[in-house]
Amino acid sequence: MNQKQNFFKGIIKENPLFVTILGTCPSLAITTSLENAIGMGIAVFFVLVLSNLIISLITVNPKMKELVKPVRIPVYIVVIATLVTIVEMVLHAFLVDLYNSLGVFIPLIVVNCIILGRAEAFASDNKPLDSVVDGMGMAVGYTLALMSISFFRELLGRGLITIWGEKSVNPIQLNLVPIFEFIGIEPINMFLQPVGAFLTFGFILAVLAAIANKKSAKMASEVKQA
């Protein structure tokens, strides 16, 4: 497997959120706005890439690997918790708005199954460079998944999407309010509430399953013809 495949498998084939369904808690809680989703994605990116790097550096030496094996889970957790604490402090110092809106879900990155899962399943058996690329792919895949959920939620719930509203002079904005007014309905506030989180996630998974079903049916018919 070359580096490119290694990177892209995290985005599509093994997408942590949509395929393996890991890390669901933040994906439902903080996806009320696209801005939060991007912020969470960046935090996870930092933690996942560095934890993969450090853990693969620990286990790359066979003697060290043997030594760490019986206590590997606590070792991984301490590495991850340290990185998360760094992220938390940096966000608190420089991006207070994001820190407040992500709330308790920043320290909860520690128990995000994706990070421990990649440490156990990939980083502990692979070289540092491969592990870093794997972490990048997984984190980008996770971020894109979070963004797609929050895109629908914010668009349907608020009618417009704003990124960096307070920070920059001309924020990126996508406005659907005129369309809502044209049809004669208000933005569906329900999508910003917990109901919308479960519903959006469920429907995205169903659409992906439908696509996968179609693909496998097509493949089966092709096999039959051949």
Binding site: I21, L22, T24, C25, P26, L28, A29, I73, P74, I77, V78, A81, T82, V84, T85, E88, M89, G103, V104, P107, L108, V110, V111, N112, C113, L116, M190, Q193, P194, V195, G196, A197, F198, L199, F201, G202, F203, L205, A206, V207, A209, A210, N213
Partner: protein, 193 residues
């Protein structure tokens, strides 16, 4: 802290701020271990025991060790280590004292370390600036809310297994839609207080 305030906190923790349906903590076991009612109840019981113990220990550690030493920034690292050790300890104790209970709960205990509800409640106890009594009530009723919802959800899921669902919705998607309807019901309880 008066008794009536504690009762209202208990009610809030149990239903209005339900841990799964409004705070989104512990979604992984909620989706993963809810296919059968017996396993859902077992998981729920184990979560109640661990969250209550973890809440008491982490709160005490924070207020009597970390806070006097001005090491509040270490809370995430300390809490997760305490929880991981606690889960192991509970597992050993249960195994020794009651093998029958261990057989029922045993397989769920290791999974609890990565249940974000445990670390979540420990952190929320600190963030909400709770006193001891409030912390006790909160760390008891939040996991009871977990037990309540996961039990209801597993009963619904057992029925849905039989139902004719569109092929694309089979499995997790339909479970999420069911959870959405449950969340809609629970969000209406907010008007009670």
């Amino acid at each position: 802290m008066s008794i009536s305030a504690l009762i209202s906190l208990a009610f809030t923790a149990l239903i209005i701020e339900n841990v799964i349906l409004t705070q989104f903590l512990g979604i992984c076991p909620f989706l993963g271990v809810s296919k059968k009612r017996s396993s859902a109840v077992g998981m729920g019981m184990a979560v109640v025991a661990v969250i209550l113990l973890a809440g008491i220990i982490t709160w005490t550690l924070y207020h009597y060790v970390l806070s006097p030493l001005k090491m509040e920034y270490m809370q995430t690292i300390v809490f997760i280590l305490v929880i991981a050790a606690l889960v192991q300890m509970v597992e050993l104790i249960v195994k020794k004292i009651s093998p029958a209970l261990y057989k029922a709960l045993g397989i769920y205990l290791p999974l609890i370390t990565t249940n974000c509800a445990v670390l979540g409640v420990a952190l929320l106890n600190i963030r909400k600036d709770f006193g001891f009594a409030e912390m006790l009530v909160y760390s008891l009723f939040i996991p009871l809310g977990f037990l309540l919802v996961i039990t209801i959800f597993s009963m619904l899921r057992e029925k849905i297994e039989m139902a004719p669902v569109p092929k694309a919705f089979k499995g997790t998607p339909i479970a999420l839609v069911v959870a959405a309807i449950l969340a809609m019901i629970f969000s209406r309880f907010g008007g009670l207080i």
